[in-house]
């Protein structure tokens, strides 16, 4: 959910960006990272752990912990917390180590 009122910061409505998440068309905002757009949409699970297949969200949001890795435009292991959201990006939950197709 977007923050609407804030005593210090102002978050004006920005240009919408259409992208796909798990094959469905969804909407983010200009200035978003992939991760911030997904959290706004209420997405919890970004990937699954390799061995035990446990759900993973993200932890650090600065590109350090790698818990937010997803498949973006077919490329696996993209750190979505430091990747700018672009129009028509195809974002998918990652279930494995990451395979280039």
């Amino acid at each position: 959910m977007r923050i609407k009122t804030h005593p210090i910061l102002s978050f004006e409505q920005k240009e919408e960006i259409v992208f796909t998440f798990e094959g469905k068309e969804v909407i983010g905002q200009k200035g978003d990272t992939i991760a911030s757009a997904l959290v706004n949409l209420g997405v919890d699970v970004f990937s699954y752990s390799i061995k035990l297949k446990r759900p993973r969200g993200f932890y650090c949001a600065i590109g350090n912990c790698a818990s937010c890795k997803m498949i973006v435009n077919g490329k696996p292991n993209v750190k979505t917390c430091i990747t700018k959201l672009e129009p028509h990006m195809d974002v998918k939950i990652q279930h494995d180590k990451g395979v280039y197709k």
């Binding site: 959910m1 977007r2 923050i3 609407k4 009122t5 804030h6 005593p7 210090i8 910061l9 978050f11 200035g31 978003d32 990272t33 911030s36 959290v39 706004n40 919890d44 699970v45 970004f46 752990s49 446990r54 759900p55 993973r56 969200g57 993200f58 932890y59 650090c60 949001a61 600065i62 590109g63 350090n64 912990c65 818990s67 917390c81 430091i82 990747t83 700018k84």
Partner: protein, 364 residues
């Protein structure tokens, strides 16, 4: 191969300040930074800084970032690579960088590693569930991107970051159900704690999180009381319903790139754990590779800036292209740094730096 006089890894407060001194000295500098914008962690800090005018006191973090960026912006001697990750660093002062789906190689006469720090994690059951964030991540989401990480949250850790971020969560309209602290004392400044308490946020000492509860995301947390030896007291378990857990248990210096070039490391708890050893001119044990800011010891952004300015100046001398006001500026920034580390809150850093000096003498 791109060639530069100085490659600075990290465009946060210390990296930017180092850059400003170096470009003023006429050196060709490149900053490589992983994030979307320069400024490091300052860009999400909405609180006003302490310290003196020189360290931009009473200015909000994100405004300080703007000041520091403006100091170096559009300068002919500076090139900035944004959204670029350094993958490898080599002793001959070459760095391999992943940038826009390509690998770049940069060779520099000197390298400054200003990679900052990363958040420490905490061991408890189900600590990997989505909805469990580092305090910095929550700050990034709210203050940089304007997105709420959760509706109801608990904060683990009552250091300054834990307290300040709790307050910022309230400002963003998120309910902070409690701040949990394992030790018997609140870690951060009393003024921050009082502010939270006035707003009705309870701060519990001698308590910790035992378990996160949930299936695909966190739904509740189990909290237990601790005795003076940090052992769980039986029968004290309570469940708090929340949809977010924020972990703020300290920072660890990002020394990994310096480890790649075999710079000597040391374990100094007062500086945040393992750090690369540096001399009084911030040079590591590898000739020509320097480090400054949180990557060589956890302090505040104010100290990181002063260290950055100094490292920039030291490097200008190392390259025999001294800044025109070298002596004057070195004195000025050394004095401010000593002042910042002077008071009772600086005692940990002072002890850490003393240990650093002794370890450095041993390896030489």
């Amino acid at each position: 191969m791109i060639e530069k006089d100085v490659l600075i890894i990290g465009g946060g407060p210390s990296g930017l300040c180092a850059a400003s001194m170096l470009i003023e000295s006429g050196l060709k500098v490149m900053i490589v930074d992983r994030g979307l914008s320069l400024g490091g962690q300052l860009v999400k800090q909405t609180h006003k800084f302490f310290g003196s005018k020189e360290q931009y006191a009473k200015t909000r973090g994100f405004d300080i970032a703007k000041i520091l960026i403006d100091q170096v912006k559009d300068h002919g001697n500076l090139e900035v690579l944004q959204e670029a990750t350094v993958l490898g660093l080599y002793k001959d002062k070459v760095a391999t960088i992943s940038y826009q789906n390509e690998y770049l190689k940069i060779k520099a006469k000197t390298i400054i590693v200003a990679t900052g720090a990363s958040e420490k994690f905490l061991a408890f059951e189900n600590n990997d569930l989505p909805g469990i964030y580092g305090a910095g991540a929550v700050q990034t989401l709210m203050n940089q991107f304007g997105v709420k990480p959760a509706d109801e949250i608990i904060m683990i850790g009552s250091g300054n970051i834990g307290l300040i971020v709790s307050y910022q969560l309230l400002q963003a309209g998120i309910k902070v159900k409690a701040v949990i602290e394992a030790s018997s004392k609140i870690g951060g400044y009393k003024v921050h704690a009082s502010k939270l308490r006035r707003l009705g946020v309870p701060i519990y000492t001698n308590k910790t999180i035992k378990k996160a509860i949930g299936t695909t995301r966190v739904e509740a947390a189990e909290i237990v009381s601790l005795d003076e030896k940090f052992n769980e007291i039986e029968g004290t378990s309570e469940i708090i319903k929340i949809d977010g857990i924020c972990i703020s248990v300290g920072l660890a210096p990002s020394y990994q790139l310096l480890d790649m070039v075999d710079a000597k490391l040391g374990y100094i708890p007062e500086l945040g754990g393992t750090v690369a050893l540096v001399d009084e001119k911030h040079m590591t044990t590898v000739d020509g590779i320097f480090s400054c800011g949180d990557s060589i010891g956890i302090e505040e952004a104010s100290s990181a800036m002063m260290e950055g300015y100094l490292t920039g100046l030291y490097v200008s001398k190392y390259l025999n292209q001294d800044h025109s006001k070298y002596v004057e500026l070195v004195r000025k920034y050394e004095e401010s740094l000593a002042l910042l580390r002077g008071g009772p809150f600086g005692s940990k850093t002072r002890k850490g730096l003393k240990d650093m000096k002794e370890m450095m003498a041993d390896v030489r």
